[in-house]
């Protein structure tokens, strides 16, 4: 389910965020991730939340769309929040030992409640931030392009960046194809009386064999054919390969760089001067 969040949710619009260089988006998201985890007090969080809301608004992606993307993760968010409430030990009792018999072992402290709240804010801003920059405003192709050129310096230490990016592009390209194929094979096996929805766990797992095997066979065949087709068009890896779209940093990208730096610096300053979590 979490799959939906990061894949193929491009929201077509013409905005500052959409037009940013994907490399810059990558950098910003990384800085943003670090900032969210470094942030220690309420002011830093307010700053980060305000910033991300600002970007959501100027990106022209409706809030409704973004919340829809969060929906599948609500259970996980609530689960972690509840764990934090019950399993954090602190000094300020909110509810617990004095009120009910000890064998229940539920002690709730103020600290736990705050921890849970902060965790929820952290997860939600992280999810909104990454999905806004990586999926709603960037096409998968732009993203892999950005990763490839952005990480190009790593080639010097023999990391095959081009190959990784190509693999990513191909993987993304073939997801819809494979989904299509799966439903075709399922229909064919259903026509032969296959039953995927009754019986115990083992029976159901066994019922999947007639789908998984043909799917693998065809995936391998496809890979083989694709490799041949690429070789026929003289593909021989990244060396000397030119690109159709050359990424270039523009004024708005430098503005974004400035914002990233300012964000990180102010979070650190707020951490130092405004103290830790306080009531």
């Amino acid at each position: 389910m979490g799959f939906d969040v990061s894949l193929g949710q491009y929201y077509e619009a013409n905005s500052f965020v959409h037009k940013l260089d994907p490399r810059m988006k990558l950098l910003f998201v990384i800085v943003f991730l670090v900032a969210t985890f470094v942030a220690k007090n309420i002011f830093a969080f307010v700053l980060l939340v305000a910033l991300i809301l600002f970007f959501v608004i100027i990106s022209r992606v409706p809030l409704r769309v973004i919340f829809k993307g969060l929906k599948p993760l609500i259970v996980i968010i609530i689960f972690t929040a509840v764990l934090n409430i019950f399993f954090t030990k602190g000094e300020n009792y909110l509810w617990g030992k004095e009120i009910i018999p000890n064998f229940w072992r539920v002690d709730i402290y103020w600290e736990g409640l705050i921890n849970a709240g902060i965790l929820v804010v952290r997860i939600v801003t992280l999810l909104i931030g990454t999905s806004l920059f990586f999926s709603y405003t960037t096409t998968p192709i732009e993203l892999t392009d950005g990763i490839e050129t952005g990480l190009a310096p790593l080639k010097k230490i023999k990391i095959p960046i081009h190959e990784f990016a190509m693999m990513m592009t191909i993987a993304l390209r073939f997801i819809p194809t494979l989904i299509d194929e799966t439903s075709k094979i399922m229909n064919a096996q259903k026509a032969r009386g296959a039953d995927f929805s009754s019986g115990g766990l083992i029976k159901r797992a066994k019922a999947l064999i007639p789908i998984i095997i043909p799917l693998f066979v065809s995936a391998f065949r496809r890979a083989d054919e694709l490799a041949t087709a690429m070789e026929c068009r003289c593909y021989h890896g990244g060396n000397g390969r030119t690109r159709m779209k050359i990424l270039k940093m523009k004024a708005r990208d430098y503005i974004m760089l400035l914002i990233s730096v300012a964000m990180m610096v102010s979070v650190i300053l707020l951490n130092i001067y405004a103290g830790g979590y306080s009531l």
């Binding site: 026509a191 296959a194 043909p214």
Partner: protein, 288 residues
């Protein structure tokens, strides 16, 4: 008696979205028992959607589907039983093979039906015979076979379920002429020996003319014609409108007629044409 009957069936892809496509509109069709029925139409005319309605893989948005006179969607939970009555071979079925041996793969369907092992054996051997699969091939892995052989194994897998109607979606697509003849010949033999009904979807007019008893013509989601080969192929203009062609030999006959050679215009096989021309020549001599 008709084994499958569609009453006013309609189906829409992507309902209530901007991409709504009326794949089928007001289809009324009867598939007669014991016949080979051909369904023809150009690409995207709704042929494949239509046959998926036959065995309940697709539920129509409107209208009724009757199999043996009973509405198949009366109890949606029991729809899988319909799939034993209406056996379906999809397009390019060779990709559905999965078992260790050809024998096991053909036995998959009958085993799902929970027939006895003895009966499974009988059915596997019988359908292997109709599809021209040799005893040695039955022991091989389906992945070691050629494309044409795989196709036959997939076909045998559905035949082995012993359905009352066998529905084949483009059974000969992508095969060489010999492969086509073998597979379609096998289907014809199966029909003759078992007496079961067969539905073939194709856009090859020649194949249809050779093997089918009746033909239904689809165009833009509508059924525009349904009748025996003679009637359908004599409507050259209507077929052309639907983006279809008559068999080559019918074209030849039409050309001959234009030159004043009076032979019947509803000829659709080479043998038929040979006989008609012979007769014409004989008549000509008599006239002289």
């Amino acid at each position: 008696m008709s084994i499958i009957e569609l009453v006013d069936v309609g189906f829409i892809y992507g309902k209530k979205s901007p991409y709504e496509i009326h794949a089928l509109q007001n289809i009324n069709l009867k598939i007669e028992e014991g016949c080979i029925t051909g369904i023809i139409g150009h690409t995207g005319s709704g042929k494949s959607t239509l046959v998926q309605i036959f065995n309940g893989l697709i539920r129509p948005d409107s209208g009724k589907v009757l199999v043996n006179g009973k509405d198949i969607w009366e109890k949606p939970k029991e729809i899988s039983k319909i799939r034993y009555i209406v056996g379906m071979v999809m397009q390019y079925p060779e990709y559905q093979l999965f078992a260790d041996t050809v024998w096991e793969d053909i036995a998959y369907g009958p085993r799902n039906m929970k027939v006895s092992e003895e009966e499974v054996k009988k059915r596997v051997e019988r359908s292997a015979y109709f599809c021209g699969i040799s005893k040695e091939t039955l022991e091989k892995s389906p992945f070691d076979l050629s494309g044409g052989q795989k196709r036959r194994v997939a076909l045998a897998g559905v035949m082995a379920m012993d359905p009352d109607v066998l529905v084949l979606d483009e059974p000969a697509a992508g095969l060489d002429p010999r492969g086509r003849r073998e597979i379609l010949g096998g289907i014809k033999e199966y029909r003759e020996k078992s007496g079961k009904s067969v539905v073939i979807v194709s856009h090859s007019m020649e194949d249809m003319a050779m093997y089918c008893d009746t033909i239904a013509v689809m165009s833009h989601g509508k059924l525009i014609m349904h009748g025996d080969c003679k009637t359908v192929f004599s409507e050259k203009e209507m077929l052309a409108e639907a983006g279809l062609d008559v068999p080559e030999i019918t074209n030849t006959v039409h050309a001959l007629r234009k030159r004043g050679i009076e032979i019947s215009k509803s000829i659709y096989t080479v043998d038929g044409a040979v006989n008609a021309i012979k007769e014409y020549l004989r008549g000509d001599k008599n006239g002289l």
